[in-house]
């Protein structure tokens, strides 16, 4: 049989395009045992070794779609980049944090943090309705946060182990020492707010000074509460969380202001809600600007923010936040306008948290986002070393 006309040999050639690019290098002169110069197994750098042919890319994609995204396989929607990996398996582990627990915790923490500050300030500027709303949102959000956080633990009954040590290197440890007093104080302020209208509560408990003290105490931890959760995500090896680590705190606090301001504005008579409105509009602007930086400044690591479920969530978040901010600025003085734009801002904030969470999870599942940036880093370092 003539090999040249055999159908199988043509197929074989098509499958091996690299054979033209990796010819036999020049004869190695001082290699007496090397009977096949340049084609030895382990000795030749760049000897053309590729992972053995599995299914073609098209087949892999089809199979992955059928699989419905189970397991730890790569994201089938991303484009292929030039990089090597171990059978496409992920390198870093994905966070084991549950959704919606943790994204909701991020959202509630931000909303509660900014509400606590608004509530404390409202106490001293004669805005009782705003103070009341803000205390309830802050306290309710904080207590729910604690619930979500404990529910997310693998061993919930051991939640107090969080307070065994204090470690500045662990954002979760620092966060535990923020969340604990924050939830206790804002929860107290919220309870005292509710107690005002209950007849059976003793009068000394209803004293405004007690509520104000709790409110101010909670407000002290409000800013850190909204900001630390960004560091919580960023201080991981998850590429799309770690790389924008200096910008994420502004996304999260901006988002927290938008949510807290939006919710306070929705549940407060408009004549007292002006500070909440302003906070919401400025916060939404900060969120949009910072999120734009996260989505564009980090090359390939920004990609997960645009594609897949994270991309959809973040596009919806942007639309909600922008519409809510414009609505609050233009129509926030009317009751229905305040309710509608406040709800939009809160929805935008929640969608942002879900989107950021999802983007990070997606980035951990595809080895591309680990290998490509690290390769670039190595190449840049090598180039710098060559220059000097």
């Amino acid at each position: 049989m003539d090999p040249g006309t055999h159908p199988g040999s043509e197929v074989e050639q098509e499958r091996t395009p690299e054979m033209h690019g990796t010819g036999v290098p020049a004869e190695v002169e001082d290699a007496p045992l090397d009977h096949r110069p340049g084609v030895s197994g382990v000795a030749t750098p760049g000897g053309g070794w590729r992972r053995a042919d599995g299914p073609t890319r098209g087949q892999q994609r089809r199979r992955k779609r059928k699989g419905g995204g189970r397991g730890r396989d790569g994201d089938p929607t991303v484009e292929d980049a030039e990089f090597q990996s171990y059978y496409g398996r992920q390198i870093v582990k994905s966070a084991v944090w549950k959704t919606p627990d943790v994204p909701l915790y991020l959202f509630l923490g931000g909303a509660a943090g900014s509400s606590a500050v608004l509530g404390a300030a409202a106490e001293f500027t004669d805005r009782p309705a705003l103070a009341r709303t803000a205390h309830l949102i802050a306290g309710g959000g904080a207590i729910a946060s604690v619930g979500f956080l404990i529910h997310d633990l693998g061993r919930p009954e051991r939640f107090l182990h969080m307070l065994r040590v204090f470690k500045p290197t662990s954002p979760l440890s620092v966060g535990s020492y923020i969340l604990s007093p924050f939830s206790a104080l804002t929860g107290a302020a919220a309870a005292l707010t509710l107690a005002e209208r209950m007849d059976w509560v003793p009068r000394w408990v209803k004293a405004p000074s007690l509520r104000r003290t709790a409110g101010v105490g909670g407000a002290v931890f409000g800013g850190p509460m909204a900001a630390y959760t960004a560091v919580l995500l960023a201080n991981t090896a998850t590429p799309s969380w770690h790389e924008p680590g200096d910008t994420l705190p502004f996304v999260f606090t901006g988002s927290g202001l938008a949510a807290g301001g939006g919710l306070c504005m929705a549940f407060t008579p408009v004549d007292q809600a002006a500070p909440a409105r302003k906070a919401a509009v400025v916060g939404a602007a900060v969120e949009l600007v910072a999120m734009h930086k996260v989505e564009t400044d980090h090359g390939i690591v920004s990609e997960p923010f645009h594609i897949g479920r994270a991309g959809k969530l973040l596009r919806a978040a942007r639309a909600c936040t922008a519409a809510g901010a414009v609505g609050a600025a233009v129509l926030g003085g009317r009751r229905w306008g305040a309710v509608a734009s406040g709800a939009l801002l809160a929805a935008g904030s929640a969608l942002t948290r879900f989107g950021v969470f999802d983007a990070g999870m997606a980035s951990s599942k595809d080895p591309k986002y680990v290998v490509v940036p690290q390769r670039e880093r190595l190449a840049a370092r090598a180039a710098a070393a060559a220059d000097s």
Partner: protein, 363 residues
């Protein structure tokens, strides 16, 4: 024993003693042990002599009574990874040693085939679909039983021989197949991300300089899982806590070697004092390089790398990512001071914006 400054470098970024990042000659002392602590121990995994027998995996599973799981970490599941001989798949809560099987092939650049040559016995059998004997015949001129093959087969552990005859390489049609095998394990980093971020203190540095989880303290927060730049530690499903290689802390305290190193039949996994292993690895690399194995490189050996050097390091024969290892891992805590500073700025921004709304005209 190192001095403890009043403000943590995690907040200030003032890390003169390399407590977050950079070389740290006495990691055990930095962790607070007295000066007479044992020497830092480690693994040197020389993948050039790994035969993929998985004795390390089995020994580890048995000694540590690790439950069964599939390649994705699902408990009590027997599943095929669908990619190679590797159904362990990854390091995780239930697999503290993982032998990677990298099946690689490449086209053999052949001289033009001499038409009509008969197929050499045993050559055409493994060739790809439909190729049959005629493709096999093509490689006969290039790869017939040259005398060198026989010689090399008798001395496969000799690096010079390895450079020309690799026992892990075989012919298949016009393609050449080789296997890279590497037993992966927790790196026991000098700057361990998992240890840094653990909020309960469940993860700790032992007197041997290794990193171990105390499973009676771990509350399953899971923060260490995404913090590891190598993707080693994982949460055990159905249990909730995290688990990883302890370097057989229990055996070490009784003067024994870790189970995997004890079981390894080819000394691919070597256990010992880290400085001694490093010297041994340097010598091995020099030997291989001198004898022409130019793809050999040490991984995790450099104390100037992103994790301050690993307690378990490797000699690899290809790029790290081919084995599923990150090419340039960095402990996430290196960037934490900057993140805290920006978070402080963001928190101040929040308070400022919220309070500024109360200024000015009352509407």
């Amino acid at each position: 024993m190192s001095q403890f400054s009043s403000a943590s470098p995690a907040f200030t970024g003032h890390d003169t003693e390399n407590r977050l990042y950079g070389p740290l000659p006495d990691v055990t002392g930095e962790a607070g042990y007295e000066a007479d602590h044992p020497a830092r121990v480690g693994f040197f995994t020389d993948t050039s002599v790994c035969i993929g027998c998985k004795a390390c995996e089995v020994a580890c599973k048995e000694w540590n009574t690790l439950p069964m799981d599939d390649a994705d970490g699902n408990r009590d599941a027997l599943g095929l990874s669908g990619m190679s001989y590797d159904n362990t798949g990854m390091l995780g809560a239930n697999s503290w040693r993982h032998v990677a099987f990298v099946e690689q092939s490449r086209a053999v650049d052949l001289p033009m085939p001499a038409i009509g040559l008969p197929a050499a016995p045993g050559q055409g059998a493994g060739s790809g679909g439909g190729c049959g004997g005629s493709c096999g015949s093509a490689e006969t001129p290039a790869h017939g039983n040259a005398d060198g093959t026989t010689i090399d087969q008798h001395s496969v552990l000799n690096a010079q021989a390895l450079s020309s005859f690799d026992p892990q390489t075989a012919q298949s049609g016009d393609r050449e197949i080789r296997w890279l095998m590497s037993s992966d394990v927790c790196k026991h980093c000098t700057h361990a991300g998992c240890l840094d971020v653990c909020p309960t203190g469940a993860l700790f540095r032992t007197e041997f300089g290794t990193v171990v989880v105390q499973d009676d303290i771990c509350n399953g927060c899971g923060y260490c899982v995404p913090a590891c730049p190598y993707g080693v530690i994982d949460q055990r499903k159905g249990d909730g806590r995290v688990f990883k290689c302890t370097m057989c802390y229990d055996r070490l305290t009784d003067g024994l070697q870790p189970a995997c190193a004890t079981a390894c039949p080819t000394q691919s996994i070597q256990f010992g004092d880290l400085d001694e292993l490093q010297a041994r690895a340097d010598a091995r690399l020099a030997t291989l390089t001198e004898q022409g194995v130019t793809t050999a490189r040490l991984y995790g050996r450099d104390t100037d790398d992103g994790v301050g050097g690993a307690g378990a390091f490797f000699l690899l024969l290809d790029e790290p990512e081919v084995y599923g290892l990150p090419p340039d891992p960095v402990v996430t805590t290196r960037d934490l001071p900057s993140m805290w500073r920006h978070a402080a700025g963001a928190a101040a921004m929040l308070v400022g914006v919220a309070l500024s709304g109360f200024l000015g005209r009352r509407r």
